[in-house]
């Protein structure tokens, strides 16, 4: 595919979009927010006493080669603001999101954005097609609370853009904050944002991953791998190990953490090894009561989920996609380092690994009787 034909396709698509009826400019205060890269989220109020606002964000699209594993596998990515996933935007229900989407002339592809949280025009996709060297401003009203995926959806190439990195999350909080099943307020001390991507990297005859000098040259081979529906990598935040080791998440015993997990393309099932989901919005929408005490929660492809957990024990936790093949072999693993005091009541190693002692059960010597 040549760049020219791609651009022409986008131009034709733009002509087909009807000009929508324009509503009056909402007379609301404006607020501009600087986005931050995942797994972090820009500062925000969890509940607000203020009235609705127009919240302005700006994202710049970046096409770039990235490394996606420790073997140095190179990948032609397309990203919102340079990160996989794109940054999280947080607003409150009733606010307006006003996004300036920039496609710099250094890029080669047309792009756009489809907000699952927005209403109409393919989630904004039909109104945001930008060629390299263009920008667009879209405003939409956040009428439903929850965590929602956004992703690129250009004509004829939607899945390729999504599995190349172009997805992210919007969180629309209820104005009075999160609540448990009984309507009691819930708060978090930290928020972590995990974006999962399934990646499809072509291999050569020897089975080695191929690299390409440009996005366009990677297209047909990549599409062939995509059509087999078997990803070569399943990663959190853009690469194997993006959230482990030196990049592991941190928390303290007693802290409550909200983990938002998005997957724009494919089903996944987060699980916190050694912990739980105290309150989980599995479908990600805060108007529904959260489920309690989950072990694993299901994130439908094309959606985001939110799980609230208060850490009770120190140590290293693994946060995985509990298809463990995808976690251990393909990369879908994060770690949380939790500092604090250990509770022997919750767990204790009664006797360490050692030889099998016939007739001995637990810590009680044979022949003794528990009173």
């Amino acid at each position: 595919m040549t760049r020219r034909s791609v651009l022409m396709g986008a131009a034709i698509a733009a002509l087909l979009v009807a000009v929508p009826a324009l509503a009056a400019e909402p007379d609301l205060p404006r607020k501009s927010i600087e986005l931050v890269a995942p797994p972090f989220v820009h500062p925000h109020e969890q509940a607000t006493k203020e009235g609705p606002k127009i919240v302005q964000f700006k994202m710049t699209i970046s096409e770039k080669e990235v490394v996606i594993d420790d073997a140095g596998t190179k990948f032609q990515s397309m990203t919102y603001n340079g990160s996989m996933p794109g940054p999280m935007m947080v607003v409150h229900e009733g606010d307006y999101v006003e996004l300036t989407l920039v496609n710099p002339a250094t890029n080669t592809m047309p792009h756009n954005i489809d907000f699952h949280a927005a209403t109409g025009a393919l989630g904004g996709g039909a109104l945001t097609n930008v060629n390299p060297g263009e920008q667009v401003v879209l405003r939409w009203k956040a009428t439903r609370s929850g965590v929602f995926v956004y992703h690129c959806a250009p004509q004829g190439m939607i899945p390729w853009h999504v599995v190349s990195g172009m997805s992210g999350t919007v969180m629309v909080l209820p104005r009075d904050g999160l609540k448990d099943r009984d309507g009691k307020p819930l708060r978090y001390d930290r928020i972590y944002y995990v974006g999962e991507h399934d990646l499809y990297v072509p291999r050569d005859q020897d089975g080695k991953y191929k690299s390409y000098p440009s996005l366009a040259e990677s297209y047909s081979d990549t599409l062939e791998v995509m059509r087999k529906l078997t990803p070569t990598h399943v990663v959190f935040n853009g690469r194997v190990g993006a959230l482990t080791g030196k990049n592991a998440l941190t928390a303290k015993v007693g802290e409550t953490v909200l983990i938002v997990h998005s997957q724009a393309n494919r089903d996944t099932r987060p699980h916190l090894i050694g912990g739980h989901g105290d309150h989980v919005w599995e479908t990600g929408k805060f108007a529904n009561p959260p489920e309690k005490n989950l072990e694993t929660w299901f994130v439908r492809g094309g959606s985001a989920a939110a799980a609230l957990y208060t850490f009770l024990q120190p140590g290293v936790y693994a946060y995985v996609n509990h298809n463990l093949i995808e976690a251990a072999e393909l990369g879908a693993t994060a770690h949380v380092k939790v500092d604090g005091e250990w509770s022997d009541d919750l767990m204790k190693q009664v006797s360490p690994p050692g030889p099998i002692v016939p007739g001995k059960v637990g810590a009680i010597e044979t022949g003794t009787v528990a009173k």
Partner: protein, 301 residues
């Protein structure tokens, strides 16, 4: 724990390299001359101070492995470099080693063989023994540490302390996380340099199988270790750090709950048995090496 440097200084390492061809060698000393397709180093007798492999407990709680001194009273004859892809391929051609596709695929034949399990490595050693008449085997963990000298790292990271196991667990995670990521692509022989014994590529990007089994021991107050359980389904592999590996694994991985970095590759470096049990070839080899006879061995690669 590293080897005391004075030990390394005291050791005379003799490297035998060859100028002769196979034909030339046969002419030199027909019928009795061992012909090896690789160069070897004879590391002179000496002591090695190290912490042995395995898990240790004191009164049921995790403890550091004890410091041990092992006295070697005969030279250790060990390959100068790791087995190459071409050498392993010859074993496959002879139907003595399993063909392996995987790690290192596409690397040129002169690069170190990687992606081998313990079982593959043993098959290669047995084949080398049959084809040369000289007993070859994998080293033990302490032989490897002795040969590696300053390249050996027998600390398995901060140990889980008795009083605050979780803080120690986190500390170990930090330490393992700070290990540099190793590019696993097989490099030319010698790319990682030679150690003080003249062995090349020790602790490079290929970890080497040893015969040492995983052992769990209790330490008595006297410092004496009492073995509790031994698992020979898991062997020690040695390289930049010591690791324990199930014997059929060819391509080690981390992931899931596992923290830290696994060995980048698994490969082979053999020792030559010199206990005289092979009809004296190994001993004769040593004798000639001591007299500086050149052309006894040749590097077939």
């Amino acid at each position: 724990m590293r080897l005391a440097t004075e030990i390394g200084m005291a050791l005379a390492a003799a490297v035998v390299t060859a100028a002769a061809t196979v034909v030339g060698m046969a002419w030199l000393e027909p019928a009795t001359t061992p012909v090896l397709p690789h160069t070897v180093v004879a590391v002179a007798p000496g002591e090695v101070h190290y912490r042995p492999a395995g898990d240790y407990t004191v009164a049921g709680r995790p403890a550091a492995a004890p410091l041990r001194t092992v006295r070697r009273d005969r030279p250790l004859v060990i390959m100068t470099r790791q087995v190459t892809r071409a050498e392993y391929a010859a074993c496959v051609s002879a139907s003595a080693c399993p063909a392996i596709a995987g790690a290192g695929a596409g690397a040129t034949p002169d690069r170190p063989m990687v992606g081998v399990s313990f079982r593959d490595a043993v098959a290669y050693a047995e084949w080398m023994t049959r084809t040369t008449g000289v007993v070859h085997r994998l080293p033990t963990d302490d032989e490897w540490v002795f040969a590696a000298a300053e390249k050996a790292d027998t600390e398995a990271g901060p140990l889980i302390a008795v009083d605050d196991p979780i803080r120690a667990w986190l500390a170990r995670y930090e330490a393992e996380s700070s290990r540099a990521v190793v590019d696993p692509a097989p490099q030319p022989v010698g790319a990682f340099g030679a150690n003080s014994r003249g062995l090349v590529d020790m602790a490079g990007n290929v970890w080497e199988w040893t015969t040492t089994c995983f052992e769990r021991s209790a330490l008595k107050p006297s410092g004496e270790a009492q073995p509790l359980t031994t698992n020979c389904g898991v062997r020690v592999v040695q390289g930049q750090h010591r690791s324990y590996m199930t014997d059929f694994i060819r391509d080690p991985k981390a992931g899931g709950c596992a923290a830290g970095l696994p060995p980048a590759n698994l490969g082979i470096r053999l020792v030559v048995e010199t206990d005289g049990g092979d009809g004296g070839f190994g001993l004769r080899l040593l004798d000639r090496m001591a007299r500086g006879v050149q052309g006894l061995l040749f590097d077939g690669s």
